[in-house]
């Protein structure tokens, strides 16, 4: 693999990381902690939304984030012919 492709591959990887980690930060530190009081004024069934994010929602989204990352990277590996 040439240096140019290596750089492009790495840059795309970093872009995915930036997007996914922003979501990671937003749902836990954002919705679950910093904005919890504001979100608690919104209700989802029996849950206050901020409380739900802190004790349920953030965890579900964490799981989804990893599997999305797996898919994105598998595609990226294929694009650069790095899959085995």
């Amino acid at each position: 693999m040439n240096t140019d492709n290596r750089k492009k591959y790495w840059r795309e990887n970093l872009k995915y990381l930036a997007i996914l980690l922003s979501i990671w930060f937003l749902v836990s530190y954002g919705f679950g902690i910093l904005l919890v009081d504001e979100l608690n004024t919104v209700r989802m069934g029996g849950f206050k939304l901020g409380f739900w994010f802190a004790q349920q929602g953030s965890i579900y989204i964490f799981v989804i984030l990893i599997f999305v990352y797996v898919r994105l990277m598998n595609k990226l590996d294929k694009k650069y012919k790095l899959d085995e």
Binding site: M1, L21, S28, G45, I66, Y69
Partner: protein, 591 residues
Amino acid sequence: MDIQTWTFIIVGFTFALYIGIAIWSRASSTKDFYVAGGGVSPLANGLATAADWMSAASFLGMAGIIAFSGYDGSVYLMGWTGGYVLLALLLAPYLRKFGKFTVPDFIGDRYYSNVARTVAVIAALFVSFTYVAGQMRGVGVVFSRFLDVEVDTGVYIGMAVVLFYAFLGGMKGITYTQVAQYCVLIFAFMVPAIFISIMATGNPIPQIGFGSAGEDGVYLLDKLDGLMTDLGFTAYTDGTKSKMDVFFITAALMLGTAGLPHVIIRFFTVPKVKDARKSAGYALLFIAILYTTAPAIAVFARTNLMETVQNKPYKEIPEWFTKWENTGLIAWTDKNEDGRIQYLPGTAINGKKPEFSESRGELGERLIYNFSEEKNELYVDRDITVLANPEIAGLPNWVIALVAAGGLAAALSTAAGLLLVISTSISHDLIKKQLAPGISDKRELAIARFSALLAVVVAGYFGINPPGFVASVVALAFGLAASSFFPAIVMGIFSKRMNREGAIFGMLAGLGITSYYIARFKLGWLGNPDMSEEKDWWWGISPEGFGTVGMLVNFGVAIIISSFTKAPPKEVREIVENIRIPSNAGDAIGH
């Protein structure tokens, strides 16, 4: 059949299963012993990681901690799951590509320095030993509670079982036993949770159930908030900790999770880089099943407790109450002498545990010496939340026995994973890599087995004679992992410029400031004790959350020092180039 018989049958069966797996999966090379031959499927590794990760504290303690701290308990839920996102995205795939056996291997090679390797080995040993002592104690406690033996006897039994499969099978034996242990522990956790969710709300899924309404049509969480605020507690869904502190504790737990050596090495066992990513996803999925159920159990248990006992005459209390009172996990003092139980804010006792006298009060309650001046009359041990659940819900005896087997599976699997890190640190990182590089594979394997034996004995010793600070060491383990390994590994992958000097001073600075803060504010070993109160905390950050500051200090020091010192040599920059590309991961090699 009674509970005791069921417990012997189920625990005996699971132990036979673990030992059978150990014999089937004996290790024949160091590669088997350290990384299970590198051939574990991502799914199996995910299951094993989940069992490795969830300790007796997660299984027995977490629902209780949340039940008694409400929203504040969220720090553990987010903190102990969010770290896996960091692991999957920032660490696991690259470390797998690097393809060695241990975390100090990576630090030592990437920073071309045996000093860096040694700092990493010491940190790994320290983190693992503090952590494993609590686990061995946990094994003893579970045994003593369910099988009616002394705690020390329980520790000996636990030592024998762990030794058997760690000694024979190393990582290979441990991995496949952990797969079985995950199945046992999750089944044992979910069965009572589902029953109780149905009883409380009619919904079999606890995660949805605790957001639903009970028979009276009132949402469960609203009812609980109401019950609590009426009595002067903070509402369950509101916290008492400052936002700043919640933020920092959550971050320290996440970063610590991602930096714990016994978690990281699990990703060396899969064949390819893409398997490492996928298996982190499976691991978090399996962990999430328990971690999203725990807050539901917490709400059911807390509501049940408030409704059952508050202002009830002691004479009319249900049987489970007096049963757990007899085991010392519940204590009640009729402070205002009205014969009723007042469960109010404030601590019911002075000190941590009730000190029971031999005699009983007029109503038959166990008298205690150390009751407090506050109005609250009821002491409830948090562990009761999971332990007593099946009984409170009136579930059959075999379910109660199952919980015992689940608690043991959780404690044993975590202890085994930690013991492997300790034995690997000694035989591979210290002896093979530093003291005697010429030894043969066979000899190294023998040394690894011997180190495992040594580690079990030392861990057992700490389990029987817990050092005074064991209760608070979890904060220490996470803080140290967050402030040492996490930054050093991340910079090693994402910065080509980071060099030996930066990494070493960064790790030392991070470790130093975090240890100092915990020693001063958590253990009270340093500084003026009058200045170690909560109000003296720096920026209101508790010792549990200080690992985050240590991590920032590590990054800062490393970046500054590295910019004034020589760039790493060309070979090292090539290592970095190489680990960023997933193909040709090859086998994990140690030589």
